[in-house]
């Protein structure tokens, strides 16, 4: 806990002043791209982003980057990218609502070569001096990035299954249960 002399959350807030239309309508839905449906199994990922005192953060920007259902990245560096799903961009953006919650609809990613299925996350917000990057996993299977995280903290990167196609991935910026972020 911080000393009581700290200015309470919500007062002295500097921004965020991302333009009101910074998050385009539908930018959090990766299952459809330019009117066409992506291949694969649609899933929903929800979560809250909270700061040290547990306060929910509104209008925080969350972005994701992931491979398609076949584990292929839509990028020329992926040797298989010619076979990437043309109807899947792999990128999305959401803003948290008044309860600090974001939601993405996306396609369950396949396993890229040498990696377990995962989704890259990035968050940006005022008072975060630098953007933060983390990675969400679906289970605790072997993965080179997950293995880089101290054992006791690995579970914090594993989404909690809420239903057959529904996951929860909370992001705690600081404090107890702090999400592991990567030094990129």
């Amino acid at each position: 806990m911080k000393p009581a002399a700290m200015i309470p959350t919500g007062e002295a807030t500097l921004g965020p002043f991302f333009p009101p239309r910074y998050v385009d309508e539908g930018a959090n839905d990766l299952t459809v791209f330019e009117g066409r449906k992506a291949k694969g199994e649609a899933i929903e990922i929800r979560g809250s982003v909270i700061q040290e005192d547990g306060a929910a953060l509104e209008n925080l920007i969350v972005e994701i980057w992931q491979p398609d259902a076949g584990g292929i990245f839509r990028h020329p560096a992926d040797p298989r990218h010619a076979q990437a799903d043309p109807d899947f961009l792999g990128w999305g953006r959401a803003a948290t609502d008044g309860r600090g919650s974001y939601v993405f609809r996306t396609i369950r990613p396949g396993a890229p070569e040498g990696r377990a299925p995962h989704i890259n996350f990035m968050v940006m917000f005022s008072g975060l001096m630098r953007i933060l990057k983390t990675t969400m996993f679906f289970d605790d299977g072997l993965d080179v990035v997950l293995s880089a995280v101290p054992v006791a903290r690995r579970e914090l990167l594993i989404a909690r299954k809420q239903g057959p196609n529904s996951y929860r991935f909370d992001i705690r910026l600081c404090g107890d249960g702090e999400t592991p972020f990567f030094d990129d």
């Binding site: 333009p19 385009d24 930018a27 990245f73 990028h75 560096a77 992926d78 001096m129």
Partner: protein
């Protein structure tokens, strides 16, 4: 550009880390939100894989481009000092990054954002929305026509004012080169006391966040010109500023 090679050894050599001295502190004295929002645990080092060495290159197909002329149109001109910002986006080797999506937002000439949360002190300018979104040309360049943003007081109410600045969000070619930063103006007295700019310890890195004033040449005849350079990655990367 960052390596798109597939053998691990080469990737490792080409991914230069950012120089920590040229990046802002995460906890900033006098910026009361920072101890609540920035990680207390050390960040986890990872060796980049294809997942981090790829990234969205076609975001411009997913978001609405707003162009780079945000100073108004016809007889509906924003109020303020008309300026042109000429910016080049480079990778860690100094090579231009063409086709990069750039998002920019700023306060109006009076120091107010077009945002419902900014209800502080200064008037709204109905002719100024305050956000641009465009793609760099093949030489990594883009130009913005805007008005110089005003300074504004921070609600810490202890004398901290943000100097005139603009926010940039950029997508390079890979996930590791995603950059969110700010640009400042030369000769502004408030630069010396800004807690965000001065969170960057290295003097040269701080100065790299300040645009260069270009003496007027008559072209354009109606606007002041500033030049700026943004380096997405590596040891000479432009400092992050969220």
């Amino acid at each position: 550009m960052l390596s798109i090679a597939h053998d691990d050894a080469r990737m490792t050599t080409l991914i230069e880390p950012r120089d920590e001295r040229s990046q802002p502190a995460r906890i900033v004295a006098g910026y009361p939100q920072t101890p609540w929002r920035n990680p207390a645990q050390p960040l986890v080092a990872r060796r980049p894989t294809l997942s981090e060495l790829t990234g969205p290159m076609e975001v411009a197909r997913r978001v609405r481009l707003l162009g780079g002329d945000i100073a108004g149109h016809g007889d509906r001109q924003a109020i303020g000092q008309l300026i042109h910002l000429r910016v080049r986006v480079l990778d860690e080797d100094g090579a231009p990054v063409g086709g990069a999506l750039v998002e920019m937002w700023q306060a109006n000439g009076a120091g107010r954002y077009s945002h419902p949360n900014d209800d502080d002190h200064a008037p709204v300018d109905a002719n100024f929305y305050g956000a641009a979104r465009l793609v760099t040309d093949a030489s990594g360049a883009f130009e913005l026509r805007t008005v110089k943003p005003g300074a504004y007081p921070v609600p810490t109410n202890d004398g901290w004012w943000r100097p005139p600045h603009v926010h940039f969000s950029l997508f390079g070619r890979v996930w590791l080169s995603r950059l969110v930063t700010q640009m400042y103006f030369p000769g502004e007295p408030l630069n010396a006391q800004d807690r965000i700019l001065n969170a960057v310890p290295d003097v040269a890195a701080r100065e790299s966040l300040i645009a260069r004033y270009v003496p007027p040449t008559g072209n354009p005849h109606d606007a002041l010109v500033f030049e700026h350079r943004i380096v997405l990655r590596g040891r000479t990367a432009t400092p992050e500023q969220s």
